[in-house]
């Protein structure tokens, strides 16, 4: 006979406000098998947990039900407490009477009845719970970092510095990401390249970092501690081992007018190229779509001039398999592209601003490239249309951000600050020019951030206009800006020479595809979801996968770097042990019943089901049955629901337990 202890939590007033906890405790106390039933103000607090432990020992309890918040919140807490009191942790269950009851119902009577039933259900379930032994699996102490922007670089360096091997995979020909494109950074105005390039070189030289650029993730298999990752290394057409990075090939390449994506297509590059002079690795790549050799079969100049003979037109894409124990996802962001239809929106953005039609209406990143000393204009602010210096420049914030109509409701967080920075850079470079900024709200929380914004107004003389712009149109060589100043309550018209649109931050294109490969979840915008918004901000719900940087939501550089180091710390925590304990929620085969149809094997997405031969003592084969490898099984239970002879059981979710719950209702 089981002796079940039931503990009803008030959660301060969160539960007791709508649920009559005393009545629940009283009624559940009468259920068969329940030996002890009580209520307490905060079960998760130290005294609450002590109450639980004491009751287990004093009352000789065999099973425990804690009725409180969601098991997603505190199941671990209470199972630990139960274990400390000498019981197997899997003999403890939680009844969710907060998220699923007290918070979603207002009527006290209804909520109390429902709470009683929920607790009753868990009481019946826990009776059927079995002692489950902890399962341990080995940990491969290598990690994969996806994305070589500042987030990926920081995470990779931190992990590598701790002595573990890191595989860093970057889609572009060079690491560096968006930060390498920036001119100067807020709020200190230090040059982005100056602080970024040393880190990039560190990555290249680190003995523990294996760098794959121009490469993508093809397939991810396995589970925490034991992932197998297939990486597709795209053909660079240049042998990385032979290339010395002398750059002769690039000076001789006849294709010289290809818009360079790194320069937001305002600068030009050759067909064999490195995206920017400080690229890491300093090995060029041939852009096969624009290369004369690949298009017509005639040219090969680069190959002829290459001293070490590194150019290889025959090179093929390669698939490389790496075993890792942890994955850091740092794929970063993309900028809202005005001329494309954003996800979830019916319309293309901002026809009223004429972006793409009026050459001097540019986006913020293009302004960064104009302002960058290594950019296509050598750091001079010049109009793309006629190369003249703009004397009146208008910045418009919130392009694509806070725009429900464009399918994006969130604030991109960094645009207020980078626009303030732009006004300063402009003022430093064009002394007789005037900058205007149209904005809705200025959001500048952060150390020295608001001071920075105020400085752009008070010292750098930017004119901030609270209001938005409705239309831009070309008149002669001017751009007419029609906006409003809502503080004054009048329409405003400015004849501008250049207009800069502060475009929103969006997740990388293909972020959803990668998430599906990794088995991690993402929100409606394709930002990756953390396991807990406050308490587990760098972990994914999928164990062993961690998040760093803007792939999880808009972030500035300091935040990104902190999160990357945090993700690295999480990886180190995982790597600090040789064996990993995991929940023993795995499937087991009852060999006596198994007929060897292997329907389970077909549905198992993890390849955890193996074939096992059963032989008698003489070694004659009796039958072949299924066997579930507990190290590989993820515990989804699909095999059990599929098994026609009911010979597989998922520990923790047995038919017996579930039927008991249904019958209690």
């Amino acid at each position: 006979m089981s002796r079940i202890g039931v503990f009803i939590c008030h959660c301060g007033e969160n539960i007791s406000r709508t649920v009559d906890v005393e009545r629940v405790a009283q009624q559940v106390g009468k259920m068969p098998g329940v030996a002890f039933s009580t209520d307490y103000k905060y079960m998760c607090s130290d005294p609450g947990q002590n109450l639980l432990k004491k009751a287990i020992q004093e009352q000789n309890l065999t099973h425990v039900v804690v009725a409180a918040c969601s098991p997603r919140m505190h199941e671990k807490t209470f199972r630990k407490a139960v274990e400390a009191a000498g019981l197997n942790p899997f003999l403890c269950e939680m009844a969710n009477i907060r998220e699923h009851c007290s918070w979603v119902h207002e009527n006290r009577e209804e909520a109390t009845v429902k709470a009683t039933e929920i607790v009753g259900m868990m009481v019946e379930r826990v009776k059927k719970n079995r002692v489950l032994p902890t399962i341990t699996v080995p940990v491969t102490k290598r990690s994969l970092v996806i994305g070589g922007g500042i987030a990926g670089i920081q995470a990779a360096l931190d992990i590598a510095d701790c002595g573990h091997e890191v595989i860093l995979v970057e889609r572009e020909p060079s690491i560096g990401g968006h930060m390498a494109q920036l001119s100067e950074t807020f709020p200190t105005l230090d040059c982005s390249q100056c602080i970024m390039t040393p880190k990039m070189v560190d990555v290249a030289n680190h003995p523990n970092i294996k760098l794959y650029t121009y490469s993508e993730i093809e397939l991810v298999e396995g589970y925490i501690g034991n992932f197998q990752v297939t990486i597709k290394k795209r053909a660079r057409s240049v042998d990385e081992d032979k290339c010395t990075g002398c750059g002769v090939c690039m000076t001789k390449c006849p294709q010289k007018k290809i818009p360079n994506k790194f320069d937001q297509n305002i600068g030009m590059r050759t067909a064999i190229y490195i995206p920017f002079p400080q690229a890491v690795p300093n090995t060029p790549v041939i852009d096969r779509e624009n290369c004369t050799m690949f298009k017509t079969g005639k040219c090969g100049v680069c190959q002829k001039v290459c001293g070490p003979g590194a150019v290889d037109f025959e090179q093929q894409d390669q698939l490389i398999i790496e075993a890792v124990g942890a994955i850091v996802v740092a794929t970063g962001f993309d900028l809202y592209t005005i001329d494309e239809k954003p996800k979830g929106s019916l319309i293309k953005g901002y026809g009223e601003f004429g972006h793409g039609k009026i050459p001097d209406v540019i986006d913020g990143m293009t302004f960064e490239r104009l302002a960058s000393a290594s950019g296509p204009t050598g750091g001079k602010i010049l109009r793309p249309s006629d190369g003249k210096e703009p004397k009146q420049i208008v910045f418009i914030q919130c392009i694509g951000s806070r725009a429900r109509e464009k399918g994006i409701s969130y604030c991109s967080k960094v645009c207020c600050m980078y626009t303030a920075k732009h006004t300063m850079l402009y003022h430093h470079k064009v002394h007789d020019g005037q900058a205007y900024v149209f904005f809705m709200d200025a959001r500048t929380p952060g150390k020295s951030y608001d001071e920075f914004w105020r400085r752009s107004i008070e010292e750098e003389e930017a004119v901030y206009i609270r209001g938005m712009v409705s239309r831009l149109y070309q008149k002669g060589d001017k751009i007419i800006v029609r906006g409003s100043d809502i503080a004054v309550g009048v329409q405003v018209e400015i004849e501008a020479d250049m207009v800069v649109l502060a475009t929103a931050i969006q997740p990388q294109k293909g972020a959803d595809t990668l998430a599906q490969k990794l088995g991690i979840s993402y929100d409606k915008y394709n930002f990756y979801s953390e396991a807990h918004a406050k308490l587990r901000p760098v972990e994914c719900a999928t164990a062993g996968i961690y998040l760093a940087g803007a792939c999880q939501g808009p972030k500035d550089i300091p935040e990104t770097v902190s999160q990357a180091s945090a993700a690295a710390a999480k990886v180190m925590t995982l790597f600090s042990k040789d064996l990993l304990e995991r929940e023993p929620i795995v499937a087991r085969v009852k060999e006596s019943g198994c007929v060897g149809c292997f329907a389970c094997k077909k549905v198992c997405a993890y390849g955890a089901v193996e074939e096992k031969e059963i032989r008698d003592r003489q070694g004659n084969l009796i039958k072949t049955v299924a066997f579930v490898n507990p190290g590989v099984c993820a515990g989804c239970g699909t095999c059990q629901a599929t098994c026609p002879s009911k010979s597989v059981e998922l520990d923790g979710y047995t038919d017996e337990q579930i039927v008991a719950m249904i019958e209690s209702l």
């Binding site: 969601s70 098991p71 997603r72 969710n96 907060r98 998220e99 699923h100 009851c101 918070w103 979603v104 119902h105 207002e106 009527n107 006290r108 009577e109 209804e110 909520a111 009845v113 429902k114 039933e117 929920i118 259900m121 599906q516 088995g519 979840s521 929100d523 409606k524 979801s529 719900a541 999928t542 929620i585 549905v603 997405a605 993890y606 993820a634 515990g635 989804c636 239970g637 699909t638 059990q640 629901a641 599929t642 026609p644 998922l650 979710y653 038919d655 579930i658 039927v659 719950m661 249904i662 019958e663 209702l665």
Partner: protein
């Protein structure tokens, strides 16, 4: 503020089978966002919709449920890669069986609710509750249970046959 309970002639019993990663989390989100929905639903948590055996649904109806909700991750978002696809295929076949047994299919709802869709959870639960309330109590299976004292195990030839096709 103590809102009065809205009285109805009939309070249906709804049993929801949900996966822990998406819909259970979505329901948690509805809670943390303090959304309100009818108190008729009882939630049973599974690791994945792939674990949900159609027998549980029969069992629920037999046990007096007036409506059953099965909900998991959106197609493509399964935490276990493809469990929800297997579930979807299985339940498509199961609906036919259920119809054969004489259950009005309007009482059984499948939906996808992600961890981010607290609002959708509220909508799905509210809609099903109202729909089933309008349909009235489910009697077919209760009578069946009375007649056969059916244990939930598969012991009739028809069921066995139908089940083998799933």
């Amino acid at each position: 503020m103590h809102p009065e309970k809205q009285t109805h002639d009939f309070e249906p019993k709804i049993i929801a089978f949900v996966c822990t990663w998406c819909t259970y989390a979505g329901a948690d989100l509805a809670g943390t966002s303090r959304m309100q929905y009818p108190a008729n639903v009882r939630v049973l948590k599974f690791p994945c919709t792939g674990r949900i055996d159609p027998v549980f649904i029969l069992k629920a109806f037999q046990q007096g449920a007036d409506g059953v909700l099965v909900s998991g991750c959106h197609p493509g978002d399964c935490h276990y890669i493809a469990g929800n696809f297997h579930a979807r295929r299985r339940f498509a076949a199961f609906r036919k069986l259920l119809e054969f047994v004489g259950v009005d299919l309007n009482r059984l709802q499948f939906s996808w609710v992600s961890a981010a869709e607290g609002g959708k959870w509220v909508e799905v639960v509210t809609d099903l509750t109202e729909k089933v309330r309008a349909m009235g109590p489910m009697t077919e299976f209760k009578e069946l249970a009375m007649e056969e004292q059916w244990s939930g195990a598969i012991n009739t030839p028809e069921l066995k046959e139908a089940y083998s096709q799933i």
